[in-house]
């Protein structure tokens, strides 16, 4: 098959395959493929979540227990407090920055591994994951040892004479973003690799011949064809980053509070499950809406690349 006609034919074949997926055998296929996972999620995620949704309509009685005596949306109206906006804004800022950085770093690395890794591709991928098979806490403590005023970075810069005073990196926005990007990098690299690895590099070569510039080839061929990977990596980075409270807590400071941290406090020392649940559901609502909007606009811009 020639490179020029392959994409168009591929699209038609995929559309045909999807159309065919409506008959009897397709129904069986659907059941085998989709049902087990969906049922598991329904049983062990939706049902428990439903319980919390019910809890979010309740209140706490004087004894400290959740009571559904007067269910209502009072927790939601309570949670729609403008006081939360700075923390929410900060969370969104951290999540977006982390995602952009993770994709910006992850894409080239995934590309390198896929294109030039050769025999050692799998090994290189495992090496990406290896640091994350240790304890999160101790990794974060190690980061503190690196970033603090008397830590590795500052000591080095001071010794070399590049600075006179230590640069305050730890317990700032910067350390939070660095820590979060570090933590989410593998969740970006792996899905990106998976998608880039599918890329037919002869297509890229042909595009270079046509565009006579690496940038054009990248923008018009590589990027669109690896869009599914980018979307997956983006989702797996942005969404959890929005809910991450541990990293901002440990690497952050008094001024870097996130909405996830506040939700945490409401559940623990605040002892208010209904209120905490309501705030959590509001956060989820914001995330779902934002994600769906982003996905839909992405789909419109890059036709047919993401299913």
């Amino acid at each position: 098959m020639t490179s020029a006609t392959a994409p168009a034919e591929l699209d038609r074949a995929q559309a045909r395959s999807r159309e065919a997926g409506t008959g009897r055998s397709a129904a069986t296929a659907t059941s085998i493929l989709v049902l087990p996972g969906v049922l598991w999620l329904a049983a062990f995620f939706l049902v428990p979540l439903g319980i919390m949704a019910v809890v979010s309509l309740g209140a706490v009685d004087p004894g400290g227990h959740v009571t559904l005596a007067h269910p209502g949306l009072h927790n939601y109206t309570h949670a729609l407090d403008p006081e939360f906006l700075p923390a929410l804004g900060r969370s969104i800022y951290y999540a977006i920055t982390t995602t952009v950085l993770s994709l910006a770093i992850g894409y080239p690395v995934a590309y390198w591994i896929s294109r030039y890794g050769g025999r050692r591709k799998i090994l290189l991928l495992i090496l990406v994951m290896l640091p994350f098979w240790t304890s999160y806490l101790i990794r974060t403590y190690a980061w503190m040892a690196i970033l603090r005023d008397n830590g590795v970075i500052n000591s080095l810069l001071l010794d070399v004479g590049l600075i006179d005073q230590p640069i305050p990196i730890l317990n700032t926005d910067l350390s939070v973003i660095l820590g979060m990007t570090y933590g989410f990098l593998p969740y970006a690299i792996l899905p990106l690799f998976v998608s880039i690895d599918r890329l037919d590099f002869s297509l890229v070569q042909a595009a270079r011949d046509l565009y006579a510039s690496g940038r054009g080839a990248f923008l018009h061929v590589t990027l669109p064809l690896t869009m599914p990977g980018l979307v997956a990596a983006g989702l797996l980075t942005f969404i959890p980053a929005l809910g991450d409270y541990v990293t901002p807590d440990v690497l952050g400071g008094a001024q870097t509070t996130t909405i996830a941290n506040l939700i945490q406090v409401i559940f623990t020392t605040g002892r208010d499950w209904p209120y905490g649940s309501a705030l959590g559901f509001l956060l989820m609502g914001v995330t779902i809406v934002g994600t769906l909007i982003a996905l839909r606009s992405l789909r419109r811009e890059v036709i047919g690349a993401s299913a």
Binding site: D149, T257, T269
Partner: protein
């Protein structure tokens, strides 16, 4: 109401009889009692109601049926005559390392009971576990803060303690026997107590600070930390403004919030776990912390100092309780008795740096702990310290809202 063959319950049986006579349902009764709000009366009556609401399911057949009397006997021997046969296992749920290094092993060697000693990371997990099945989450012994005892009793989460099985109870100093939150120690035995204050590094902080105001000093911007705990932070503000740390007054809470808002830009972080390492690693010069945290700091950096500020501070203690669903109640009693032993209690204190209420253990406690006025303040100082009382959810939510406004 369930029939339970428990010793020495004549007072409660009589009370229950009275309730039936007065034709009051338990709920009605609780409602009226809550209206009174008198602490002593409340806990007394809650204990009584706890008897009736205790869950009847999974009550083990090996009940505590002592042959001796229930009063703290005058006998000198630590082992009661004859002890009912303990079970082969014991499940304990406690903070990590909140016990002497050899304690578990010594208990296992002495009684031949296999101990499963599990830890949790924070109070939320602990309380969640105790509440999860309404009878202790499968564990025998828990170590909650004392402020939880009353509600645990109401909810039937813990069972009464058979004092005939814990003769070492007499080792406790009189001040700790019969506390307000649990009269007669019917349900709990005090474990360790602590104070709240702040630690500082004498290399950076000159002189001897004694006031909470030092944590508001702009010269120390970015070098201080406060506890990530709503009640503890608000307590500091309250002390500085002359209010009670248990205040429910909205006006006072607003003033405390203002005070804390002035402080926030000067702080490096709010944390309940990193203060020890931050001081050791010299990330901060001054840290709002608990007395035990300071002891841990000194193990690595002996120069660190601690103060209980003059405006007032908090004291607290935790307790040992037995789950109402405890699978091994006799072993649980033996565990408590073992930890009340003078030698073992001293070993625990010496290892973890927290003082206990155990008077008999005093001679064996290391001087650097018991001689230190900050870890072991004289009674006059202790009497000044205030305990954080349980706040009803409606009141607590006023704190929470202001905390969120502060932190966001």
């Amino acid at each position: 109401m369930t029939e339970r063959n428990l010793p020495g319950m004549s007072f409660n049986e009589a009370l229950e009889e009275k309730l039936t006579q007065a034709n009051w349902s338990r709920r009605e009764f609780l409602g009226r009692v809550a209206a009174f709000g008198a602490a002593a009366a409340l806990t007394q009556l809650l204990v009584a109601c706890g008897q009736g609401t205790a869950s009847p399911s999974a009550a083990p057949t090996t009940q505590a049926t002592p042959l001796g009397s229930t009063t703290a006997a005058a006998t000198a021997t630590p082992a009661p005559t004859p002890v009912p046969t303990p079970e082969k296992e014991l499940f304990v749920y406690n903070w990590d390392q909140y016990i002497g290094e050899e304690t578990v092993k010594k208990f296992q060697d002495k009684y031949g009971i296999k101990v499963t000693y599990d830890n949790f990371a924070d109070e939320a997990a602990q309380i969640g576990k105790i509440n999860s099945d309404k009878k202790g989450g499968g564990y025998d012994v828990h170590y909650p803060a004392s402020t939880w005892v009353a509600s645990f009793v109401t909810d039937g989460l813990i069972r009464p303690i058979d004092h005939s099985l814990i003769p070492n109870f007499k080792n406790l100093s009189a001040a700790w026997q019969n506390p307000a939150y649990d009269p007669g120690n019917a349900y709990s035995v005090p474990n360790y107590w602590w104070t709240t204050g702040y630690a500082w590094d004498p290399r950076d902080v000159p002189g001897s600070p004694t006031s909470w105001n030092e944590l508001w000093n702009p010269a120390r911007k970015g070098q201080m930390s406060m506890l990530d705990d709503i009640r503890e932070c608000f307590a500091v503000g309250a002390f500085l403004l002359g209010f009670s740390p248990n205040t429910k007054d909205l006006g006072e809470l607003d003033k405390i919030l203002q005070k804390l808002e002035v402080q926030k830009p000067l702080l490096r972080k709010y944390t309940a776990t990193a203060q020890i390492d931050d001081m050791i690693d010299e990330v901060v010069q001054m840290a709002h912390c608990w007395s035990g945290d300071w002891v841990q700091m000194t193990y690595t950096k002996p120069r660190m100092k601690y103060v209980i500020p003059s405006e007032g501070s908090i004291k607290g203690n935790d307790v040992m309780v037995i789950s109402s669903g405890a699978p091994h109640p006799i072993a649980a009693h033996l565990w408590i008795d073992f930890n009340l032993d003078a030698d073992i209690s001293a070993e625990n204190t010496n290892y973890i740096g927290y003082m206990g209420p155990n008077e008999a253990a005093l001679p064996k406690i290391e001087d650097y702990i018991k001689g230190d006025k900050r870890l072991n303040p004289p009674q006059s100082v202790l009497d000044e310290l205030i305990e954080l009382e349980y706040l009803a959810p409606a009141d607590l939510s006023n704190y929470t809202d202001r905390w969120n406004a502060l932190r966001a």
